[in-house]
């Protein structure tokens, strides 16, 4: 029984592995593979239900995380149709030429181009490049296509474009949550001579142009042009195919130009980029209109379900297999990727081009305030990753604003300090240097997607608070040591300005943090009351600091101005509240009005009460505002102060101090000051609408409410993205 296995038996055991592959995967030295299948089968029969065979180190929880082989959602190595790219090619999955029939070949080439566009859009939308664009077998082995100039030139420009896009996104590093995007490990992204891809593309374009001209020429002239070989053999289709190819090639060319122009330092290529964007858009339109011709000329394509097709013709493209690369996409689990339809892909590129166009129209203003305004405005349309990455690279280059303005100069300007201060030695102060870093970081964060942005803003608010305290200490030291010499006096002044500005900026961040919560739908209606209350206190502080900054500036201006001529009109202006502050004032009125209205609804009608079986109101307050509370933004504001200001809210009081009427009044007053700023004017109009509707709702509730207990009040964001409008209904 215990006899050692004879050598023959051992051999037999080792060859028990199918196909004799054990020879390629050797067992250890002096060991052999022994087949234990039958033993395992027997043990399975004898095991009790639910019983496991395992060692001492076994942990069920850890075992649950095992990757399940042959589970399509976990096992990226599942052998699908082909074992490898080479095998797929050998089996004719990606033939060159695609067909010996020239007409079919051209038709299939166009399908490949269209499907690649769909893949590219799908990639931009957040899937891995290896399973989208690089599911194209031709792209994985570009050397094979060199005899097929049309396909070859297209593949090369696609590859160069992918490389350029990856470089923009990875340089901007705004893709933390979208990190699949830049993962291109193991893919042939760079090829020899890809720098010449444009000249190759131009040559191909030129040829097709001639073919188009030749086929359009009247038959009398055709003889002269006879030396030009037509694109394909079916003369009736020649013009249509030539046109369809031309717009596709030209789109690629201009799109590549757009990407390179946008990367020029200090926004120098923006103007040219705009021209290429316009060309791209018109070529895209041609591509769209070519679909009718392609659909009719592609015989055999099914008409139904054209909406989901990834090509203009509706045909399935040749030469794609998303599974070949799926093992490259580790560490992500394999996913069945739904490639966007061709129509959606064209729509995506239209939108991207539009976003990039908005970017190019940007004037590279050196004032931080207008930069922030532009970024916030740009983000409103929720642009996708590629556009956001370009925005960030445009804003921050080499640690300077637009690669041009040193951060300290930006800060002095934002803090309303005189121009001469930008060269002051104070910029070497370590806290000032740190502040500069914070400004750069803030700009980068504002270019990320809303969710990431909010999280990051919540974190950096602490840093802004700390730098404020550090600057304040440095300022005090300066003040104590100063012998009122002129030089030191100016340092004190600089600190003073910068401190006010840092506070203002901090409250701006806080308000943006709160507002983004609405965009991300983080607040439930019964939390609106506390959110508006917090927004209200943050905005009050912001308005206060903005006003203070302006007063300090005007004060300084006045002193200097006295030497110049000072008209009585200017003096009168000084005593008025600046329009920027009034603008904030209007938002404050709305936030306060909504807070009080919500509180009164709860207190008097029991509507939108904050009771919840899971957590208390206090816990939710902390969940939403912990980051602000930690940074004491604003000072002395906490849950008790929220309770204090809302517990006694009654409709009778709100009617007396009608916040919404105040907001309407301010809008009327301030409108004329923003006549040159259409964005702000539009915002004012929205605020006015919210104020108007809520004012009416308030009246209705207070008049009808006490008599009719069935009153239903809900809140909607139909006039403004974050100031809600009350909707009153009787059930």
């Amino acid at each position: 029984m215990e006899a050692k296995p004879p050598p023959a038996a051992a051999d037999e055991a080792s060859t028990a592995v199918p196909d004799g592959r054990s020879s390629t995967i050797p067992s250890g030295e002096n060991t052999v593979w022994v087949d234990v299948s039958l033993l395992l089968d027997a043990a399975c029969r004898d095991l009790e239900d639910g019983e496991l065979i395992h060692g001492d180190n076994f942990n069920l929880f850890a075992a649950m995380s095992a990757l399940e082989i042959m589970d399509p959602k976990m096992d990226s190595g599942m052998v699908c149709k082909y074992y490898s790219v080479d095998e797929a090619i050998e089996n004719g999955a990606a033939p060159v030429p695609i067909s010996s029939d020239k007409t079919v070949d051209v038709r299939c080439t166009i399908d490949i181009m269209d499907h690649l566009l769909a893949c590219e859009a799908t990639w931009h939308k957040g899937h891995s490049v290896s399973q989208t664009v690089f599911s194209c077998i031709y792209l994985l082995r570009t050397d094979r296509t060199s005899s097929h100039v049309l396909l070859h030139s297209y593949c090369r420009i696609i590859r160069a474009t992918c490389k350029a896009v990856i470089s923009v996104v990875s340089d901007a590093r705004t893709h933390e949550e979208e990190d699949l995007f830049t993962m291109s490990y193991g893919l042939p992204l760079s090829g020899d001579g890809d720098d010449k891809c444009l000249s190759v593309l131009n040559a191909v374009e030129e040829t097709i142009c001639r073919q188009l001209r030749a086929c359009k020429a009247p038959s009398s002239r055709r003889k002269v042009l006879e030396d030009i070989e037509p694109l394909q053999t079916n003369l009736a289709l020649e013009e249509g195919y030539c046109k369809a190819l031309l717009c596709r090639l030209r789109f690629r060319k201009h799109f590549y130009h757009v990407l390179t122009c946008l990367r020029r330092p200090q926004g120098r290529g923006l103007e040219l980029a705009r021209k290429h964007i316009a060309s791209c858009i018109s070529e895209l339109e041609c591509i769209l209109s070519s679909s009718e011709f392609l659909r009719t000329s592609a015989s055999g394509a099914c008409e139904d379900g054209l909406e989901d097709k990834t090509t203009a013709s509706g045909c399935q493209p040749v030469g794609f297999d998303a599974n070949l690369n799926s093992r490259l996409s580790a560490p992500t689990p394999p996913r069945a990727i739904q490639i966007l339809s061709w129509n959606e892909a064209v729509k995506y590129f239209m939108r991207l081009l539009h976003d990039l166009d908005v970017l190019c129209s940007y004037s590279l203003d050196s004032s931080l305030e207008s930069v922030l305004h532009f970024v916030v405005q740009f983000q409103k349309s929720q642009p996708d990753l590629v556009a956001r990455a370009h925005l960030q690279l445009l804003l921050v280059q080499d640690g300077k604003l637009h690669g041009r303005d040193p951060v300290f100069a930006v800060i002095t300007r934002a803090a309303a300090l005189p121009e001469a201060t930008r060269n002051h030695d104070i910029q070497k102060n370590e806290f000032i240097v740190q502040l500069g870093q914070l400004v750069i970081n803030l700009l980068k964060i504002l270019c990320t997607n809303s969710a990431w942005q909010r999280r990051k803003l919540g974190k950096i608010i602490q840093d802004w608070r700390v730098i404020y305290l550090q600057l304040e200490m440095a300022f005090k030291e300066c003040g104590e040591n100063s012998n009122v010499s002129n030089e030191e006096n100016s340092i004190v002044k600089i600190f003073q300005h910068i401190l006010v500005w840092v506070e203002e900026q901090t409250y701006w961040i806080a308000s943006r943090f709160l507002i983004l919560g609405f965009e991300l739908e983080l607040y439930s209606p019964n939390e609106y009351c506390m959110v508006y209350w917090y927004l209200y206190v943050a905005l009050v502080k912001l308005a206060e600091k903005t006003h203070l900054k302006m007063a300090v500036t005007n004060g300084a201006g006045k002193r200097r101005g006295k030497k110049k001529r000072d008209t009585p009109k200017d003096v009168a202006k000084d005593y008025r509240i600046p329009p920027a502050v009034l603008f904030l004032q209007c938002q404050i009125c709305l936030a306060e009005g909504l807070t009080m209205m919500l509180a009164a609804l709860r207190n008097e009608h029991g509507i939108l009460e904050t009771r919840s079986p899971f957590n208390t109101e206090y816990e939710r307050f902390i969940q939403h505002f912990e980051l602000l509370q930690k940074a004491s933004i604003p000072d002395h504001v906490s849950y008790p102060s929220f309770k204090e200001s809302t517990t006694y809210a009654r409709f009778s009081n709100i009617l007396m101090y009608n916040y919404f009427k105040d907001a309407q009044r301010i809008v009327k007053e301030v409108k004329s000051s923003f006549s040159n700023e259409p964005d702000k004017l539009a915002e004012l109009r929205r605020l006015e609408q919210v104020a108007e509707h809520n004012s009416i709702a308030l009246n209705v509730i207070s008049r009808v409410g006490t008599l009719d207990p069935s009153l239903k009040v809900s809140f909607e964001f139909n006039h403004h993205p974050y100031f809600a409008t009350a909707v009153v209904k009787r059930s």
Partner: protein
């Protein structure tokens, strides 16, 4: 009666085959599956259904359908191989080691 109902809960009187398999825990195991891949790892666990968990496993796969073909390999770590897809199962065994406990 009482003794009999308690029996399955106790460790000792197990079937011979279960005891033998238990001795295989931590040994290098080489499992082939139906799509032609192989997995080499340390035997970690098996349930009544015959599903096997391997630790520190490596996947081997051919780059071509036709054999012989070059093999490709990658590390996978902890994997579960369902019984339904298992086509072969071997353990590493020293030449000097008695073979009998391993075969039925």
């Amino acid at each position: 009666m009482e003794g009999r109902t308690e029996k399955p809960l106790k460790e000792a009187p197990k079937s011979e085959s279960v005891n033998r398999v238990r001795k295989l825990v931590h040994r290098r195991m080489f499992v082939g599956i139906k799509d032609g891949r192989f997995f080499l790892g340390n035997f970690h666990c098996m349930d009544k259904k015959g599903n096997i968990i391997l630790q520190d496993s490596i996947e081997y796969r051919s780059t071509r359908r036709s054999s012989p073909s070059p093999m490709e390999q990658r590390c996978l770590g902890l994997i579960l191989i369902p019984f339904s897809c298992r086509s072969s199962c071997n353990v590493d065994c020293s030449i000097e080691e008695p073979l009998a406990p391993l075969v039925l």
